[in-house]
């Protein structure tokens, strides 16, 4: 298939996934601020959302204060914020539009309809929780339509590759920043704050029930990290995402793309064989996640060069 087509499919999937994760993250903030706490804590929670996306400067240029309302406006509806849910969907739809001939008409109609509905939304028009839930379910809908209608061909693999790469990145970012905020005084560990706050994080990543099922125990930060990073059967964990990414690259690759495949495999192996105690004791969670994000980004640019936007000089001619 055309490299450009693959590029559009890949980015279409990434933006849809990103919109979903932004909604999930805002949802967890919203839940957390419903818990009893002081203004400073609330501020910190909303500020974290901006930090995750590296948007603090852009935000403060346009809004005078970090308030729940301002951050929600900025992250959901702001047309000038390229990371807002609105803009992610605009870009997703634009990418889909560019390859509407290469996706199924059900996919195109679904994405186009979501975009048309989304354009009608504005802040305060409806309950924000309900709205974030709606965004999340639109993502589920597209995924379902894709699985149910798209031939399992090369194009489909690029859609999956984009989606899982984005999810790995997003999960790592959410965990990193939340951990930074939530990591309590040593004396609080196991307290009620853990239950509610880490519980909210788990819920936002659809991991609350899985946690209960896997650990059948109190919620502790280290186990939350383990679940979201290393558990192979948890669909939003880094390990699961890298399973999918590695498999996708193996299927798409050829001997020209070996180095990319090797790096994906290496990253996958670290998660596959890693232990949470090692991570915490030898390098530290924050450092580990920072490094992971760096590697994910390097991998993404290798994928771009190998498959999506190859320069003419590196291209080879098919017989």
């Amino acid at each position: 298939m055309l490299s450009r087509t693959a590029d559009h499919l890949y980015w279409m999937a990434r933006f849809i996934e990103r919109a979903e994760n932004t909604a999930r993250m805002l949802d967890v903030n919203y839940r957390m601020t419903l818990l009893p706490q002081n203004d400073q804590q609330i501020q910190q929670i909303w500020r974290s959302t901006l930090l995750i996306n590296g948007l603090h400067d852009t935000f403060s240029q346009r809004y005078d204060r970090v308030t729940p309302e301002n951050v929600l406006k900025f992250m959901v509806f702001d047309k000038n914020n390229s990371a807002s849910v609105y803009d992610c969907w605009r870009l997703a739809r634009e990418n889909a539009h560019a390859v509407r001939g290469s996706i199924t008409s059900e996919m195109w109609e679904t994405i186009n309809t979501i975009w048309l509905e989304l354009r009608e939304q504005s802040f305060g028009k409806q309950d924000i929780s309900e709205y974030l839930e709606w965004v999340k379910y639109r993502s589920h809908l597209v995924r379902g339509v894709t699985l149910g209608t798209m031939p399992q061909d090369e194009g489909f693999r690029f859609v999956r590759l984009g989606g899982f790469l984005e999810r790995a990145d997003n999960t790592a970012r959410i965990l990193d920043v939340k951990y930074h905020i939530l990591l309590p005084d040593a004396k609080d560990v196991g307290g009620a704050a853990d239950y509610y706050q880490w519980g909210a994080l788990l819920r936002s990543l659809s991991g609350f029930e899985a946690y209960r099922h896997v650990y059948r125990d109190l919620i502790t930060p280290i186990r939350v990290a383990e679940l979201l990073m290393l558990k192979a059967d948890m669909p939003r964990s880094l390990h699961y995402c890298m399973d999918q990414v590695y498999e996708g690259i193996q299927q798409l690759g050829s001997h020209h793309t070996w180095e990319t495949e090797r790096r994906a495999g290496e990253l996958h192996a670290q998660l596959h064989f890693g232990s949470i105690d090692d991570i915490f004791q030898s390098i530290g969670l924050h450092e580990y996640l920072t490094l992971f994000l760096k590697k994910i980004n390097a991998l993404a640019s290798r994928i771009s060069n190998d498959f999506l936007l190859p320069s003419t000089t590196s291209s080879f001619v098919l017989e």
């Binding site: 055309l2 539009h97 560019a98 390859v99 001939g101 109609e109 291209s315």
Partner: protein
């Protein structure tokens, strides 16, 4: 009754035979039912994203082309006559282009003044002496036809470059069948859905010599082009790649597309991009839409472009008056379709006449299209007439003028109910190893009362066009 020909009603108010079934059906349909079907059609078109971008409006503005639910019906006999005329006309246009880019006999014979062709900015000297497969230049032609009376058809314009609109012909039919399946039981409507198959077959038949299993692609200017929906639609229907200039590269004299698996050779390019943008090395150097080196690969016969480069010289409005002469000259036949009498303002006599009768005439720019830059005398104010007079005097040879035709009209669902609106017809004629077309075309309808401009860029809409099979109804 007005003095316009109505497609549905005779002059005495009786329903024409081929519309009788429809009129009976319509009588029993409550008005709100039609309204709700129309709303349903709008939803369908919007959800499918069948939109077009309008130039001159805010970027990214997408509009629906209004779709009218009253079909335009033509009996088999009328279509048969039209079809023969179309075949003849397109054959002559291709013969003319072959001649112009080789021996130029028609110029030598004094039938067309040489400067009309050679100084025309649509004439491409780069094509002189170049052979193209089967001597076909305009593989896809959209011939605009209007009716002024019973059996009285005129060709308004030959679109020999990159005619668009065929996707609306196909989508209109699809929507019509979804909304009114019962009507298709009452009428034997000739199918048009196989157009993409015919098109693909046509494109494959003009591949460079020696290529057995040609790779065909559709070249689009991109998602922001007004006809992008159609480009994506046709590529998908034909199962070919939809490429942009940046997806193609010329190497070792051949054209390749960049795929995830490396470079793949391309043999036929159905380009929906004007000549000027095709190759920055030859035409506009600032074009980011084309492919550097494409023209040299084309001239060397390594790739086929459809339509060929330089076809604009055949559909230019200054050449249009000579098409009947071409038919005589190349085919030795009498033209089956009428031309609209045309005044060429580069001729002093014609200029004088037109300036004296401006308020009766339609004046068009020679190179214009899409209904932009034209004057409709009877519908213009004094100021508009004066302004246009100045424009004409500044550069007379840039204009032609035609009498205002009494375009036929057809009942159309508008806000005030069903009322007559003017329309035209654009059938699409395909030429590869043979001339073929589907029975039908795009019917465009002017939605403003009394308006004679049907272009979608000027607020026109479309109708499904029904060519009846056999003699079933009439």
């Amino acid at each position: 009754m007005s003095n316009f020909y109505n497609e549905m009603y005779q002059h005495d108010g009786a329903v024409r035979p081929h519309y009788r079934e429809y009129a009976n059906w319509l009588k029993n349909i409550p008005n709100h039912h039609l309204e709700s079907r129309r709303a349903e059609a709008d939803t369908l078109f919007r959800r499918l994203g069948i939109t077009f971008a309008v130039y001159g409006e805010e970027e990214g503005t997408e509009r629906l082309i209004p779709f009218d639910i009253v079909p335009r019906i033509l009996p088999a006999k009328e279509w048969a006559d039209l079809a023969a005329g179309l075949r003849q006309r397109v054959k002559a246009l291709n013969a003319f282009l072959t001649d112009i880019y080789h021996d130029q006999n028609i110029l030598k014979a004094g039938i067309i003044p040489p400067e009309y062709v050679l100084t025309n900015n649509q004439y491409r000297p780069e094509m002189q002496g170049i052979d193209v497969p089967n001597n076909i230049y305009t593989h896809i032609a959209g011939i605009d036809i209007v009716r002024a009376g019973e059996g009285e058809f005129y060709v308004l314009e030959d679109n020999a470059r990159v005619p668009s609109g065929v996707s609306y012909m196909l989508e209109d039919r699809k929507v019509m069948m979804r909304l009114f399946p019962e009507l298709f039981n009452r009428y034997a409507v000739a199918p048009v859905e196989h157009y993409p198959d015919l098109l693909l077959d046509t494109l494959r038949s003009v591949a460079p010599q020696g290529v057995n299993s040609p790779t065909v692609v559709l070249l689009t200017p991109g998602a922001h082009n007004s006809a992008y929906f159609e480009h994506a639609f046709l590529a998908q229907q034909m199962g070919i790649e939809l490429v942009e200039g940046r997806d193609l590269v010329v190497r070792d004299g051949f054209v390749f597309m960049r795929t995830t698996q490396g470079l793949r050779r391309v043999d036929v390019i159905y380009r929906r991009l004007d000549d000027d943008f095709l190759d920055p090395l030859v035409f506009r150097p600032d074009s980011m839409l084309g492919v550097p080196g494409l023209l040299s690969a084309y001239r060397a016969g390594k790739v086929t472009l459809t339509n060929a480069v330089g076809t604009g010289v055949a559909d230019d409005k200054s050449i249009y008056p000579f098409v009947p002469d071409m038919i005589q000259f190349y085919l030795g036949e009498k033209p089956l379709l009428n031309n609209v009498p045309t005044y060429q303002l580069r001729k002093p006599d014609d200029l004088a006449y037109v300036l004296a009768h401006l308020e009766e005439l339609v004046v068009k720019e020679v190179h214009g299209s899409g209904g932009y830059g034209m004057l409709i005398g009877p519908a213009s104010t004094k100021e508009q007439l004066e302004m246009f007079r100045k424009k004409i005097l500044a550069n007379p040879s840039n204009y032609i003028a035609q009498p205002t035709l009494a375009l036929s009209n057809c009942p159309t669902l508008v806000d005030s109910g069903i009322a007559p609106r003017h329309l035209d017809l654009r059938p699409f004629v395909l030429t590869g190893s043979e001339i073929r077309f589907v029975p039908g075309g795009l019917t465009r309808v002017a939605l403003q009362k009394d308006s004679l401009v049907v272009n979608s860029s000027q607020g026109g809409g479309t109708k499904d066009t029904w060519i009846l099979e056999g003699e079933s109804v009439c």
